[in-house]
Subunit: 340 residues, 2 copies
DNA sequence: CTGTTAGCGCATTCAT
DNA sequence: ATGAATGCGCTAACAG
């Protein structure tokens, strides 16, 4: 920067200003600085800038995994919103574990991010401690649960928690109610990857069936494994073997549902005539299965975009306190297609 | 750090040492420092560390997009390898455009990464310039093409280029040869997302058909759009409408192939009896389609892991020059299933 | 094995 | 609108 300053015949400070806020210097000086800067191939050091200004222009983004398309979409929304503003997302992978999340968060915080985006509201007390100690904005995503909510408020010491997402419970309820409305009587559940959000969906589904007077716990098949097409195929077979009279199934993620659909075709089980099938998330391809899959479309990308927006708002205004607690519900859409 | 030093009764320098290389201080001092550090909740500032030591512990990772599972897998391999070593990947999205790649790279470089991982070998001259000017290791991935290779060597001024991947051309050739061996005579091609790697696959396929004396350019359907299940379904219909006698199809990515398979089922076209179908990449679900999809399994994750390993090797030894140019071919596997 | 000195490259704060 | 002085928090280099 000193070299550029010398070349432009100004002080280093003026170079710094000219490059960051061009209209804070005279037009003539600006031109000279820009020319010199370009000619010398000057690239400002963000590290030095960060140390001097206490702004790293990075944002910590913690998600459970890269193998679930849901979080990729979330990430894409975050990235496309932060990047144009000059912020660099730093990905942290928690592997669905609150303890690992705390560990990863600790690592990320050592980079002094200007903001933090987390998945879910289920964090360790240690994580809540860390978050409470931060002076930068924090946004939680994907989860808006009432229980988690209250717990969060409590944990966060009444300081308020920003969250963007939708009600997993309500979405699960919607699917359950839809299946019941279709006149199905033996409605089963297949779930994998039992994180809190999956559980809430299942809770919603269960409540809907109870409200319809058709809940049978025996028809619930829940396993801890990561969801996949292969697992869906396998679990469908297991579920039907155990309860051949099942006439509808809710699978907690579309990859499971797609696998189940393939397996139905293989086994010659007519869908939806003999078995109705519903998925969750409306993942790629779900509109094209045979028959097209009934599912719940979730606004993952939009959640990422909105979370990033809130964060930017909080990072821009360098006001004294943290901004107002806030909750953004982006809803969901029941996609009734042909498997139900 | 000064506070920790005071609490432990040592100098700040000793705290720094005790925390970074515990065995460089006496056991007693180490214990005192660790205790004080923990008690005060000290988290070293990486920004300051970076400025003082000229090592940011970050790595720039440039990929075309987050919507193609191939690059997610690559990214996962990179992340799982870098993260345990304390390196933080910084994702940059190029949108498949060399110009955008250069722009993004410039941004990333302002963060002073300790290493750079890129996708492909097709970069702008400006990008090559930037890379040549770096003193940190650079690894290119996914592409090992001879042409790109030579170009790269030229561009890089004989300095040598590190690349990890497989031969897209050979993989395409393998699929073409397989289809020909199966006795198919009217073998078509459907391709989207026409980046250099896709083109090389197509080139390989084309060469195989020529070698078999069965290449008909009329059966090639290439569109610039991003690949997807929906696009596969649509293009299958278009291809068959234009050339009803087609008896085999290579689709340049599995999502296209899965869509094509769905559409065949809808149109009542027996696979493989009337039409053989082959995909590429062996994406999730391809082993479960009806019938299971013949495709080429590509080592995306392994490429990410190996690229990160090479990078780490280069970053650890702070030797004078860049390490030896090197090329790592991780190969591919033809997965013959039932669609051919 | 430990401490001292100096400086990484900027931006904040104040002065002009 | 521009410049000078100062320090961000840590580590390299050297001394002891």
């Amino acid at each position: 920067m000193a070299d550029v300053a010398a070349a432009a015949g100004v002080s280093a400070m003026t170079v710094s200003r000219a490059l960051r806020r061009p209209d804070s210097v005279s037009a003539e000086v600006r031109a000279r600085v820009e020319e010199a800067s370009r000619r010398l191939g000057f690239v400002p050091s963000r590290v030095a800038s960060a140390l001097a200004s206490a702004r790293t222009m990075t944002v910590a983004v913690l998600i459970p995994s890269l193998t679930n398309a849901v979080f990729i979409d979330l990430l894409a929304g975050v990235q496309e919103t932060l990047s144009p503003q000059g912020y660099q997302p730093m990905i942290g992978l928690t592997g669905y574990g609150p303890e690992e999340e705390e560990r990863v968060l600790r690592m990320q915080l050592s980079h002094d991010p200007d903001g933090v985006i987390l998945t879910g509201l289920d964090h360790t007390p240690g994580t809540w401690d860390l978050l409470r100690g931060l002076t930068v904005p924090v946004v939680h995503t994907m989860d808006l649960s009432v229980e988690g909510d209250l717990a969060a408020e409590g944990q966060d010491g009444g300081c308020g928690v920003q969250a963007v997402g939708f009600s997993q419970f309500d979405a699960g309820y919607a699917i359950g109610a839809h299946l019941a409305e279709r006149g199905r009587r033996r409605i089963g559940l297949i779930a994998g990857q039992l994180d809190p959000r999956t559980r809430q969906r299942c809770d919603g589904w269960r409540q809907a069936l109870r409200d319809a007077g058709r809940h049978d716990p025996a028809l619930e098949l829940m396993v801890p494994d990561a969801t996949s097409v292969a697992l869906g195929a396998e679990l469908l077979e297991r579920a039907l073997a155990a309860h051949p009279d099942t006439d509808a199934l809710f699978l907690c993620n579309d990859d499971l549902a797609q696998g189940a659909l393939f397996q139905c075709a293989r086994l010659g089980i007519p869908v939806p005539d003999r078995l109705a099938v519903a998925g969750f998330n409306d993942l790629a391809g779900s509109a094209w299965t045979l028959p097209p899959l009934t599912t719940v479309a979730t606004p993952r990308r939009a959640i990422g975009v909105e979370a990033a927006r809130l964060l930017i708002a909080g990072m821009e205004d360098r006001g004294p306190g943290r901004e107002n607690p806030r909750r953004v519900d982006l809803g969901f859409r029941l996609m009734i297609r042909e498997t139900t």
